[in-house]
Structures are given as structure tokens and as C-alpha cells.
Amino acid sequence: MQDQLREAARQAQTAIAACQTNNDILNARAQFLGKKSLVNSLYSKLKDLPDAEKPAFGQLINDLRSELEKLLAQREKELKEQQRLQQDASKAQDLSLPGIMPGRGSLHPLTVVRREIEDIFMAMGFEIAEGPDIEDEFHNFDALNTPQDHPSRNLADTFYLENGLLLRTQTSTVQVRTMESFAPPIRIISPGRCYRNDKPDPSHSPVFHQVEALAVDKHLSMADLKDTLQNFARLMFGAGMKSRIRPHFFPFTEPSAEMDISCVSCGGHGCRICKNSGWLELGGAGMVDPAVLKTLGIDPEIWSGFALGMGIERIAMLKYNIPDMRILFENDVRALRQFSGESL
């Protein structure tokens, strides 16, 4: 009996050690511990033993049983560990091969710049207002204090439609429309398309984009205009950017000014781009002319306002160093692709 026991133990240990899969483990468990197993058959032989030996032998079988259970569990754990190692083993790939990249699209650089301007002004508390491209003379000229004989009304400057309407020459039309419909305080910017009868060249295009800002409130002064310009310049072009305003003339602002920012190319030291002045012209600005306010039913004794306007093409060209405005309307993907990084 002792020999049988020892033999059973030896066989089982060998078999368990040889297990290579979960299935092997299951089979081994059935073979050595199952109903028809060797260990089980030893139990049935207990009855043949003298009573005195029964307890001791029974204990031996039990010990063998738990020993085998332990071995099986241990082997199972080893196999699992092996499987894990296999799963996590290096696949030995050539990691210099390119990965699967999602496609890269792009917003048009004018859209990128428009969004940037919108975001900056919205952060400063401005809303965005839009209006039609096709306008009448009142909103484009009359309401803006433009004299009847002003040259900008000519066919050589402004596009007219056969129905007598015109294509707006600036987005100030939206300012007029906003002041017609809403009472102050008002803080808006109006981005949009404008049209002037200019032949396309490196710095002109008959279709172009503009953003104008308008603020009407109590106690607004030119200091607020300067602040707004300075904040915009810094946020758009960088913290070191300087700005200034110079006296100028526009029919719809009084006083009027032109806005300059330090040259984005040389930082103000003087270069070819800024014609060695250190400054670049950004656009026009001024305090809204009292006549304009009055025309729109706003009392200039109570309210004051400032307006400023700039071309999106010009800002895009400055920001991205684009040499010719016409490139912006060619839609050549070799150019557009360069703005993927700006569109994310």
C-alpha cells in the first residue's frame, strides 16, 4: 500500500510538471483527483486494512490529495504567468515606420485670422454682428456722413448692381444697422466681406475681408480706443507689440486716426517691410462722429463711441509673411496645407 501511494505521488508529480496548457491542468486534475482517479481508488482500499492502520493511512491519502492540489494550483499559476509574458513579449517592430495618421485638413488662413480676431474681441466683451454684403447707399455712405460728391461713391471705387444697390465698401454698414436696431450700450465687431473696385495686385483685391469694432457707451473716450487697440495688438501679435494712433481724416469719425503697430518683421528696428519706419499701418479708427450718432437717433451728449477697422487679409499677410494678397484666393492646396497647424 505504501508503495502504491508513493508510486501514485511520483506519477502525478511528473504529469503535473509536464502540463503546458489550461486543458492539461484540467486533465491532470481529473486523472489524479477525479472520481476514477488513482487517489480515489486508494480510498476504496482503506476498508481492506486493519482497523489500527486505517487512520494513519487515511491521513496519508489526504496529505497526498492536498499536496497534489497545491502542485496543480502552482503549475496553473506558472502557466498563467508564462502566458502573460508571451502576450507582453516584444513584437520586434520597425518603429521608424510611419503610424496611421488621421487626415489633416485646414481652415483658410483668412478664417484662422478672423476667428482669432473674433475670440480676442469677445474676450474683451464685444459681440459679433453681421449684415448683408449687398447694401444701399444710406447704410454704406449717407449714414456714415459721406458727402454726396465724395469720390468713394464713384463707379471707379464702388461696385453697383443693376437694381441700384451696391456692394458694401466696408463693414461700417453693420455698425449703422446695429445702432438702428439696438440702444446703447453697444460693443460689437463686424467681420465680413467688402468690395472695392481695385484691380488685383499684391496688396489689393476687389473682394476682401474686414473687421470693424464699435463701442457706444457713456464716458467712452479716445483712451478706451487706445486701450482696445493696444490690447488687441498684444493678443494678436504678441506681448511685446506696441501700437500708436496718428491723426487722420474719415467722414464718420471725429477725431479720426490711423492705427499703427510695431513692425512684425523687425520688431520696430526698421526693415524693408516697414520701409525703415519701425511701424506698420493696421487700419483706421476714431471717435464716432456726433452727426453719425444723431442720424441714428443716439444722443451724442449722453453717449459717445469709438470705432476701428482693419483688413483681415493684411493681418494674415503680416502674421504669416504672405507676400501677395492674390495667393489668398488661389486655393492652392500646397498653400492651404501650411495652415493645418493653425486649424486644430
Binding site: 515606420l97 510611419p98 496611421i100 495618421m101 488621421p102 487626415g103 489633416r104 485638413g105 485646414s106 481652415l107 483658410h108 483668412l110 478664417t111 476667428r115 466683451g125 459681440e127 459679433i128 454682428a129 453681421e130 448683408p132 454684403d133 449687398i134 463707379l155 471707379a156 461696385f159 453697383y160 448692381l161 443693376e162 437694381n163 444697390l165 456692394l167 446695429t178 439696438f182 450700450p185 453697444i186 460693443r187 460689437i188 466681406r193 468690395y195 473696385n197 484691380k199 476687389p206 473682394v207 457707451d217 489668398l328 484666393f329 488661389e330 486655393n331 492652392d332 492646396v333 500646397r334 492651404l336 496645407r337 486649424s343
Partner: protein, 808 residues
């Protein structure tokens, strides 16, 4: 803090409407956190005295009482309350009285007749107390309406007192603040110092060892007091504030705390021991507790103190935990005739620390945890003395003992009226400023060019700077008065703005490049698209002074220019192109000018970038359709139908439009070879298809304007997926099959998805094999296998019935 609005009304005339009181309190910075209204009782609830009792036979708790309610004859009432006893004056509800939903009727209990009900506070809606029937003061006359005795109706308010306002911790404080905000006089109780008997054999040794933690300690001695139950008005006041009446002495100290905001304590003089055997006079020593010192609190808890605790001790041991709770040993009982009345001020941090450490929170600790002003202690003592004499008799012995070291001058603050306008935003006249602040006892003592100088009452420990006064003024005048100037006026169409950006981004994510073209176009290009001159003539807006003939009209479509852009790029050797433009088109619609924002996209070549591992598919029907479907689904666009989008430039069959009530939101299709050729693109040579996609951006913005994302609770039960395959006529569209399946159990079939379609050898002509995955989800309960099987059986049954097909 709990207050009764009726009792508050003793100190100031209140607004007629409760709502207005609550609003005034809340908007002057005293937030009303909860309101409990106690309704008026029917007039048939009256006071009545139990004149005799006898037990009801066969009952262990019922008592038969004869009750005198002021009528000609006593009434017999059966009562089950444990405190039902002879001589008690309680509340009697006569037959016919409605209390809540319950109407009192003459009844028989265990065979004994009962003609009314003796009621508990809970039964009358006064408090949650249901331990027994109410016990009115013994001298209460019978037959009086209980409304009168309890001051009903009433509203109990729970107030949030901010930590900076310890002056608001009593009725008078709240009333004073209201008097400022409502501009009504404060009806403050007149409090006078009463002189004690000079000849008196009581005496006290008062030692304050720690004046930093005990800012002030006053004591008053009284003898010959009769400890008994309180008069009814006092009982009522305590019950309204959530306290149980105990006896007249304790009740007075609690009432004065509720009235003036500063807690007090009364000690049994007889139980106070002297400092040493040689001393005759008992002692009160305010000192740090000794480490490990034992203290038995009034609530029965035994506390072990340490040196951080401040105690009021007699000559031997702690008699009270300062500002938190009194001790059992020196408590007042019926046999007490001589008392020491403490009115003191303790350091808030010490009280808070002791209260937290020993987990004892009382009305007293609640108040002392905020730093009270030591100046109140004397007045508070005088008030309590007056009320004790009134309710307990006896006499006052000697003068006030007062340990108070620091007597600082009242603070003076300068207020500049223009600062108010600068900081708060509107002008308040000096007259108004003076009125508000003087109502708070801030006296205007000087007016000079620098501003108005106010003397701050001691109780307002929170007013130390000009900014604090400005806050007081802003609060009392009401934040409603502050003008608001809005500059964001709703001019901007924020939804349309976001809509446009989302769509732009969607296409950039799908690797499109955005193009921008002029708003002008060449009328000949519309012919190139296949539109006849007659078709477009009326819609075109012509320029008077175009720069060239090919820029002579406003564009009515973005497609021609995009096709030109495509050709331009193809000519430069680019093969895989996805271009889109968002821009306006301009149409003359019967004399009216319409400017509409649209998106047009053109694409050709590979749908995805080429990769060495996987081949990229060419842009084709399913790619373009998915692009549109994905966008429309993400935006939640309500599509009512889809139909063929037949256009002269689109190949028949390979096109589709999505509509909402007849208006086209989106469309796509394959460009005809001829149209491409008209734009100088030879598809035969290119061997690629060109696909066109169009969106009406303005319409999409309009249709999604009211869409909102509303979070839905996550399902508590897991979803089950089941696959279903069958062969069906090719003439039956997938959308119809899907809708029909969903309709079988719309609340359970949460998704139907096709994952395979097969047409081929084993499938008969005119049929296709379709494999669907159904996701089943019940939000109410677990889906059992049986219910799933049943559901699938009805789906199969529906399919075979509707289309006469055989299920596999």
C-alpha cells in the same frame, strides 16, 4: 437660529405678509433657510383643567378625567397620556374640532364615554413633542383659546446668521437690523440696573484667572427665589425656539439669551464651595481645567477635561464648562433659594474648541462660538435679574460683580459718501447714510470735508473699516437698488456663430481644406453645370461695373469656383483633394435679394491618406454619405425625409438629399463626367470620381436653434445584443426594415444596426441577405432570456408577415 415671527413682532412692527418679512430678511443678508408655518387652531381648542381622574377599567394607560373648560358643567374625557393628572391645565379639543385631517367626535373608549380630546403639541401642530398632553402654567384660566396662549398663527423661521454678525443672535438684534432696512422704530425692552440690598448675608469671591479667555465675567446674587414652573408667555417663547421649559430661573436665562443674543447661566449658590476652609464666602473661579478633571454636565454626560478647556469652578471643582454647558452639581432645582447669575463673555475659539472636543453643542456654544462683545454682559444681566424677580420673586443682594479689564473707547470710522457711489455704483445721500447707520446705533459724531465720522457700537465687532460701513449701507438699502448696466445685449446670434464653427471644424477634422473664392462669378459657369440660361437668368444679380465678364454676376452657387479650384490643383499634380468653402450665395428671389450662407465641398481621390499597412479606399458613395450622416446626427438635425437629389450636374442614382419639411438641409452626389469635362477635368484620364456635397448652413442653424442636450440617467440594467439574419427582397429599403423592427417595441429596442449584406450565388435573384444587430435595453427591469426570446420571435413574426419572407 430658530425664531418665531410672532415673538419677533414684539420688538418691531412686522410687514403684514410673511413673504415680505422673509424677503426683507434674506435681502438684507439674513438668509431664511426654512419656514414652518403653524396655522391658527379652531376656536374650539381651549384651555381646561383636569379636576378629577380615575383609571379606566381594563386599560393600563387610559385615564377617565373630568375636565373644567369654563362651561356650566365639567366634561368627561378619556385620555391616554402619561402626564394626565389632576390639577393639570391642558388643551382640550371639543367635539367637532378638526385637527389636521382628524375630527374629534364623542366616542367610547373601553366602554367609557369621552367628549373631547386632551391634545399634545404635535397634535396641534405646534412642535414635534408628543410625549404627553400640553402643560399650561397652573395659573392659566380655563376656557381661553389656545391660539392666545401659544400666539397662533405663527411662522417659525430658521435663519442663517453669518459668522461676522454675532449681534444678530437674538430677537432684538434681528429687530434692530429690520428697523434699519424697513425704516421702522425698534421696540427695545427698557432695561435698567436694579440696586441690590446693601445689607445682605450673601457674598462671593470672584477670581478670573485667565482674562484672555474670559473677556468679562459678571455675577449677581439673589436670594429668596421660588423655583417653579414658568408663566405661560415664557413657556410659549421657549417652545417656539425649540427648547423645553424647565423652571422659571433656567427658562429666564434661556429666554434672555434668545432675546438679547448672549447666553447666561444660573448657579445654585448653596452648592458653591469656598476656596479654602478658612473662607466663608463661596467662590467662583474662572480658570483652565486641570488635566483629567472630571465634570458632570447638565445633560448627564461625564466629561474628562484638559488644560485647553476653560471652566467656571467653585472653590474646588468645575461647575460649568465655560460658554458650553452647566454642571449637574450646581444646577437649580425646586429647593434652590439662593442663586448666582452669571453673565459673561468668553473667547470664541476656546468655546468652539471645547464644544467640538467634547461633542457638546448647545444654544450657548452656538452663540459664544462667534465672538460676542463683552459690553453686552452687564445689560444682559440686568434684564435677567428683572425677569427673575418678576417670575420667581426674591431679592437682589449687593452690587454687580464685574471682572472686566479692557474698556476701549468705541471705534470711530470715517465714511466718504462718494466712496459709496464708486464702490456700490449709485449715489446714496448723506441723509440716507445717516438714517441707515443710526438705526444700527452708529452715531454720526462729526461731519468734515474728509467724510462723515461714525461711532460704532461695541456690539458690532464686525465694523472696523470704511468698507464694512459701505457694505452695511449697500445691504440695508438693498442690492436690488444697485443699477445694472449690460453691454452684452443679445445683438450676436451666438447659436449661428457656434453652428458655423462646428461645421467648419467638422470638415477640417475630416481632412478638408477650406477654400475662399470671390463672390462674383461668370454666368457661363452655370451653363457649364447644365443649368439653362432661362433657369438662372432671373436669379442672377448683375453688376453694373464688373472688372471682367467672368466676374459680372453675384454667385448663386459655390460649386463652379470649387471645380475650378479642383482643376487648378489637379493641374499641379495633386490627386487626392478635399476642398470646401463656406460662403454666401446671392440670389434674386422675385425681386428680393437673398443672401444665404452655404457650404459646398468637392472631393476626389483617396478618402484617407495612403498607408503602407492598409490600402486607402477612394472617395465614394458610402464615404460621402457617412460624412453627411455623421454631421447631421451629431448636430441632432430633425430630418423628416430623404429623397433623390436630381441635378443636371449629378449622375443619376448616386445622389441623395436630406430634407426637413420640404426644405433641403444637405445633399450629395457624384459629378457627371460631362460636367467635369465642362470644367476641363477629364475623368476618363483621371480615373477618379468627383463627389459633391452641399449644406444649407443658415437652415441647419435655424433647425438646431432649440436643440439641447439633456442628460438621461444611465440604464441600471445591462443591454442585450442579439443578431438576426434573413433574406429579403432587394426592393425593400433597409430604412424601412429598421423602422419596422424598431416599431415592434420602441421602448426596448434601443438600436438596430446592419453589420452585413450579401448578394450572391446562394441568394435568389431580387433578394439579399441582411444581418442585423439589435441592442435591447429595458430601463425598468432586467431583460430575462424569455423576454428577449419573445421579443425576437415577434420581430421575426412581423418580418415574415410584412414581407412574406422565410426566416432562417
Amino acid at each position: 437660529m430658530i425664531i418665531s415671527s410672532r415673538i419677533l413682532g414684539h420688538y418691531i412692527d412686522l410687514p403684514a405678509e410673511l413673504e415680505q418679512l422673509v424677503h426683507t430678511l434674506t435681502f438684507s443678508g439674513i438668509e431664511v433657510e426654512a419656514i414652518k408655518e403653524i396655522p391658527e387652531l379652531p376656536p374650539t381648542v381651549i384651555s381646561a383643567r383636569i379636576i378629577s381622574t380615575e383609571p379606566v377599567p381594563d386599560s393600563n394607560h387610559l385615564t377617565k378625567c373630568m375636565v373644567d373648560h369654563g362651561g356650566p358643567e365639567p366634561i368627561q374625557v378619556v385620555c391616554g397620556a402619561p402626564n394626565c393628572r389632576e390639577g393639570l391645565v391642558s388643551a382640550l379639543a371639543l367635539p367637532g374640532t378638526k385637527l389636521g385631517d382628524f375630527t374629534i367626535k364623542p366616542t367610547k373608549l373601553r366602554g367609557v364615554e369621552s367628549f373631547g380630546m386632551l391634545a399634545s403639541e404635535r397634535e396641534m401642530g405646534i412642535s414635534d413633542n408628543h410625549a404627553g398632553i400640553v402643560e399650561f402654567a397652573a395659573d392659566t384660566p380655563v376656557g381661553i383659546s389656545v391660539n392666545e396662549l401659544y400666539e397662533l398663527p405663527d411662522a417659525i423661521l430658521e435663519l442663517e446668521i453669518t459668522p461676522n454678525r454675532p449681534d444678530l443672535l437674538g430677537y432684538v438684534g434681528i429687530a434692530r437690523d429690520l428697523s434699519a432696512s424697513l425704516n421702522l422704530p425698534l421696540k427695545e425692552p427698557v432695561i435698567q440696573k436694579l440696586e441690590g440690598e446693601k445689607q445682605c448675608d450673601m457674598g462671593l469671591k470672584l477670581v478670573v484667572e485667565d482674562p484672555e479667555k474670559c473677556l468679562r465675567y459678571t455675577a449677581r446674587l439673589m436670594e429668596g427665589v421660588t423655583v417653579k414652573e414658568s408663566p405661560q408667555w415664557l413657556k410659549t417663547a421657549l417652545i417656539k425656539s425649540g427648547l423645553r421649559p424647565i423652571n422659571n430661573i433656567v427658562d429666564v436665562t434661556n429666554f434672555v439669551m434668545f432675546e438679547l443674543g448672549q447666553p447666561l447661566h444660573a448657579f445654585n449658590y448653596e452648592k458653591l464651595r469656598p476656596l479654602s476652609l478658612q473662607d466663608v464666602q463661596p467662590a467662583i473661579v474662572v480658570r483652565k481645567a486641570r488635566a483629567g478633571e472630571k465634570f458632570e454636565a447638565l445633560d448627564g454626560k461625564s466629561l474628562e477635561l484638559d488644560e485647553a478647556d476653560l471652566v467656571i469652578a467653585d472653590g474646588q471643582e468645575a461647575s460649568a464648562l465655560a460658554g458650553v454647558i452647566g454642571g449637574m452639581a450646581s444646577s437649580i432645582d425646586e429647593n434652590t433659594h439662593r442663586i448666582v447669575l452669571e453673565s459673561a463673555c468668553f473667547q470664541s475659539t476656546t468655546v468652539r474648541a471645547s464644544s467640538t472636543k467634547h461633542k457638546v453643542s448647545t444654544d450657548s456654544s452656538y452663540r459664544f462660538e462667534r465672538q460676542l462683545s463683552p459690553f453686552a454682559a452687564e445689560t444682559v444681566s440686568h434684564r435677567a435679574v428683572e425677569l427673575i424677580l418678576e417670575t420667581a420673586g426674591g431679592k437682589l443682594c449687593g452690587d454687580l460683580y464685574d471682572a472686566f479689564e479692557q474698556v476701549p473707547e468705541p471705534l470711530r470710522l470715517t465714511l466718504r459718501p462718494q466712496r459709496f457711489e464708486e464702490l456700490i455704483g449709485y449715489r446714496l445721500s448723506p441723509q440716507e447714510i445717516t438714517r441707515y447707520l443710526e438705526a444700527l446705533d452708529c452715531k454720526l459724531v462729526q461731519e468734515n470735508p474728509d467724510g462723515m465720522v461714525f461711532q460704532i457700537p461695541h456690539r458690532r465687532v464686525d465694523l472696523t473699516r470704511e468698507a464694512d460701513l459701505l457694505e452695511e449701507l449697500a445691504r440695508l438699502a438693498g442690492y436690488d437698488r444697485i443699477p445694472s448696466r449690460t453691454s452684452i445685449s443679445g445683438i450676436m446670434d451666438r447659436h449661428a456663430f457656434k453652428n458655423r464653427r462646428k461645421i467648419e471644424d467638422w470638415f477640417v477634422q475630416a481632412a478638408f481644406h477650406e477654400a475662399l473664392n470671390f463672390s462674383f462669378s461668370d454666368p457661363a459657369q452655370y451653363e457649364a453645370l447644365g443649368l439653362s440660361t432661362a433657369d438662372v437668368q432671373d436669379r442672377l444679380l448683375k453688376l453694373v461695373n464688373p472688372q471682367s465678364s467672368n466676374q459680372s454676376v453675384m454667385r448663386i452657387s459655390l460649386l463652379p469656383q470649387l471645380l475650378e479650384n479642383l482643376r487648378h490643383n489637379l493641374h499641379h499634380g495633386e490627386r487626392d483633394l478635399k476642398l470646401m468653402e463656406i460662403g454666401k450665395i446671392y440670389c434674386n428671389v422675385k425681386g428680393k435679394i437673398e443672401e444665404k450662407l452655404v457650404l459646398t465641398a468637392v472631393m476626389t481621390g483617396k478618402a484617407q491618406a495612403e498607408h503602407w499597412l492598409q490600402k486607402s479606399e477612394a472617395v465614394g458613395l458610402w464615404y460621402v454619405k457617412g460624412l453627411v450622416e455623421g454631421l447631421l446626427q451629431s448636430m441632432g438635425l430633425p430630418i423628416t425625409e430623404t429623397k433623390e437629389h436630381s441635378q443636371p450636374w449629378l449622375a443619376p442614382g448616386d445622389n441623395l438629399a436630406w430634407l426637413n419639411n420640404g426644405r433641403i438641409c444637405a445633399s450629395f452626389g457624384r459629378l457627371k463626367t460631362q460636367t467635369a469635362e465642362n470644367f476641363d477635368i477629364d475623368l476618363g484620364i483621371l480615373k477618379q470620381e468627383i463627389w459633391v456635397l452641399e449644406l444649407d448652413i443658415d437652415l441647419i442653424a435655424e433647425l438646431t436653434r432649440d436643440r439641447e442636450t439633456v442628460f438621461r440617467d444611465l440604464p441600471r440594467y445591462p443591454a442585450v445584443t442579439r443578431d438576426l439574419s434573413f433574406v429579403i427582397q432587394t426592393s425593400v429599403p433597409y430604412s424601412q426594415i429598421r423602422e419596422a423592427i424598431q416599431a415592434v417595441a420602441p421602448e426596448l429596442i434601443s438600436e438596430v444596426q446592419i453589420f452585413d449584406q450579401y448578394l450572391g450565388e446562394s441568394i435568389p435573384q431580387g433578394f439579399r441577405s441582411v444581418s442585423l444587430r439589435l441592442k435591447l435595453l429595458d430601463r425598468e427591469k432586467t431583460l430575462t432570456d424569455e423576454r428577449v426570446d419573445e421579443l425576437l420571435a415577434s420581430v421575426r413574426e412581423m418580418l415574415s408577415r410584412t414581407w412574406q419572407i422565410k426566416m432562417r
